[in-house]
Amino acid sequence: MKQPAAVLGTGQTHHKAKRPDVSMAGLCREAIDRAMADAQVGWDDIDAVVVGKAPDFFEGVMMPELFLADALGAVGKPLLRVHTAGSVGGSTAIVAASLVQAGVHDRVLAVAWEKQSESNAMWALSIPIPFNMPVNAGAGGYFAPHVRSYIRRSGAPEHIGAIVAAKDRRNGAINPYAHLRQPDITVESVQASQMLWDPIRYDETCPSSDGACAVVIGSAEAARSVQRPGWIHATAMRSEPTTYAGRDQVNPRAGRDAAAALWKQAGITDPLSEIDAAEIYVPFSWFEPMWLETLGFVPEGQGWKLTESGATALGGELPINASGGVLSSNPIGASGMLRFAEAAMQVMDRAGDHQVDGARKALGHAYGGGSQFFAMWVVGSEQPE
């Protein structure tokens, strides 16, 4: 039955709007080489490679893992390509973990990447589909109405989003790999930034980045040679349609179901007190309080109060996105794996300046599509019983 699995090492690129200095292979290898060094493994140690990426139109290559097979060290090995929209980085890590949990492999390399500067994400995501009226709203226009619904439903004050944005960007400033680094940002400066998709302001939106993330996941046997591996305590994935009659688009059931399954598997009954750090997929600031509720950290309608209290800042009760999160770096296909890797780094005590002191259990979370695909894991410093 299920074998224990642990994160042996993680690696990521320096994320930037454009990485004109590297090819697609070079971008992936920058993350992979760091992850393999962190895990202290060589190519012969890797049994299989799992690749995650969002739509192939971003780079204009159909199933790019095929042409990358050599650079990814996959030749002669199993190579699997996962694509679950924005949650793909998380799903990819989960698939890699399951290869170990199934008892099939000892060490699996997972890599997720996006080189958005090869094209234009707005073009790739808004190719006109015949007979479909263009939404005329742009990237944030899809999510902004749901943020408005959240505000209406919860009665959250207007400055909550700005609190999240200022916090995540300041966190990004102490993460050497982050794309946006804004140590001087304040709630007031966020609130003074342009209103793009009312109620979402410019400083409350994620950037568009080139970047990659890699993790090496291993069996208990493989983990023995690693000092303080990040043990995988639970994983969960759930999907639902983009829209359906009566769908809760603010607090989607797929997210709630995934979280419930996750906490149960991890043996967690009170996530707020038991989780020490969380990396949550927050591309627009308001999704922090929204996902706090979906994830069950607080009852519905209370997420903004936790954010407002400062509990989600570094040093707070539940630091969220100590890495700076998606608001600081957003290489789409890799963004989910970055959340999973950063959660692992916390419990492995390898997060450097953005380390949460004494983190023993952490959450990694990703979502995609129209808030309909969810992938999550809980990692811990101790091997689960």
């Binding site: 454009k18 990485r19 004109p20 200095d21 590297v22 090819s23 697609m24 292979a25 070079g26 290898r29 190519w43 139109f57 204009g60 050599d70 650079a71 060290g73 030749v75 080189k115 500067s117 090869e118 094209s119 234009n120 707005m122 073009w123 790739a124 808004s126 190719i127 589909i129 015949p130 007979f131 479909n132 009226m133 263009p134 939404v135 005329n136 709203a137 742009g138 944030g140 226009g141 902004a144 109405p145 749901h146 408005r148 619904s149 209406r152 342009q194 209103m195 793009l196 998709w197 009312d198 979402i200 349609p241 983009t242 829209t243 359906y244 009659a245 009566g246 809760d248 688009q249 603010v250």
Partner: protein
């Protein structure tokens, strides 16, 4: 119901991709700009052309580069009797795997010969360079038999390092609407809003989908809906972006038509953006009848009516 053929129309997938090269491919492309072909020598002693970025044996970045000849031998070939868009030649030609002198691997390119009878495995061929190479694989226009006299090029001067190539990708895919969506589109052409009711959950979808997303069954029962409804939620678009058609600020809103069970996105105009409210009653504004086509764009936007706002409780299940 009358039988309808699904509506179809092409999707154009065209973009000029900008590919940054990194050091190894950059060296190869820079070489091409100077009409030289560069390979990488790997730890097995073999010279790979085009260069691999990482050593197949060790996985390390390749470090040793060698120039190879622009003449070589055909290892294999196939005939392209009807060249396709984007291919190197617009008249019939051969594709060939060509091992250049000095290389241990073959590169794939076009070979310009008159007929399949003029190509044999093992034949000697030479790169035909374009007049003005820029640092792109297409600086080699194609290969030609080495019996053709070689072009004379002036000695190349220093070439600026090439760090990026642009590669246009253009494909066309024929999009088809589902039968359900087609009926809805035909309705729009007649100024009607036609949704469909799921036979299982009885919910009314507009636009109708190929299958009810809750029950996974196709819908058939048509329901004509009024062109009035409410705003459930919305955002005010203040930002210019790629492909935008309307000058900001304007309101994008989820509209729930009376009798429908699902909202769709549309525009709210004819009132100041800041006056739009959740629950506001709205009505469609149609284009002139002679402009109607099978598209939701027949409704240019929705405008407020003078009816009282809907109660939050009446639509909170639709958020």
């Amino acid at each position: 119901m009358t039988v309808v053929e699904p509506l179809t129309a092409p999707i154009e997938l065209s973009f000029d991709y900008t590919r940054s090269l990194g050091s190894t491919l950059g060296r190869f492309m820079t070489g091409l700009a100077g009409r030289t072909i560069t390979g990488a020598r790997c730890s097995d002693g073999r010279v790979y052309v085009p260069p691999v970025e990482y050593d197949p044996q060790t996985g390390a970045a390749v470090a040793e580069f060698v120039a190879v000849a622009d003449v070589g031998s055909v290892l294999s070939w196939t005939w392209a009797g009807q060249p396709m868009p984007g291919q190197p030649l617009d008249h019939p030609f051969a594709w060939a795997l060509i091992k250049l002198d000095g290389a241990d691997t073959a590169m794939l390119h076009a070979l310009d010969v008159d007929s399949p009878d003029a190509v044999t495995t093992g034949m000697r061929v030479r790169a035909r360079w374009v007049t003005e190479p820029v640092g792109h694989i297409r600086d080699i226009a194609c290969f030609e038999p080495d019996s053709v006299p070689a072009a004379e090029w002036p000695p190349g001067g220093d070439v600026e390092p090439v760090t990026m190539v642009t590669t246009p990708v253009a494909l066309q895919v024929q999009h088809s609407a589902s039968i359900q969506e087609t009926r809805y589109l035909i309705g729009l052409e007649q100024g009607k809003l036609i949704g469909q009711r799921c036979p299982v959950c009885r919910k009314v979808y507009i636009p109708p989908r190929g299958a009810c997303p809750v029950d996974g069954v196709p819908t058939e029962e048509e329901v004509e809906l009024p062109d009035r409804g409410i705003v459930t939620t919305f955002c005010i678009v203040n930002v210019p972006f790629y492909g935008q058609k309307i000058k900001p600020p304007y309101v994008c809103a989820y509209i729930l038509l009376d009798g429908a069970d699902i909202a769709f996105l549309h525009l709210i105009l004819d009132c100041p953006a800041e006056d739009v409210r959740m629950g506001m009653r709205v009505q469609a504004v149609w284009r002139p009848r002679e402009e109607w086509e099978p598209a939701l764009q027949n409704i240019t936007h929705f405008r407020p009516t003078d009816e009282a706002d809907a109660d939050y409780d009446s639509f909170k299940e639709h958020l």
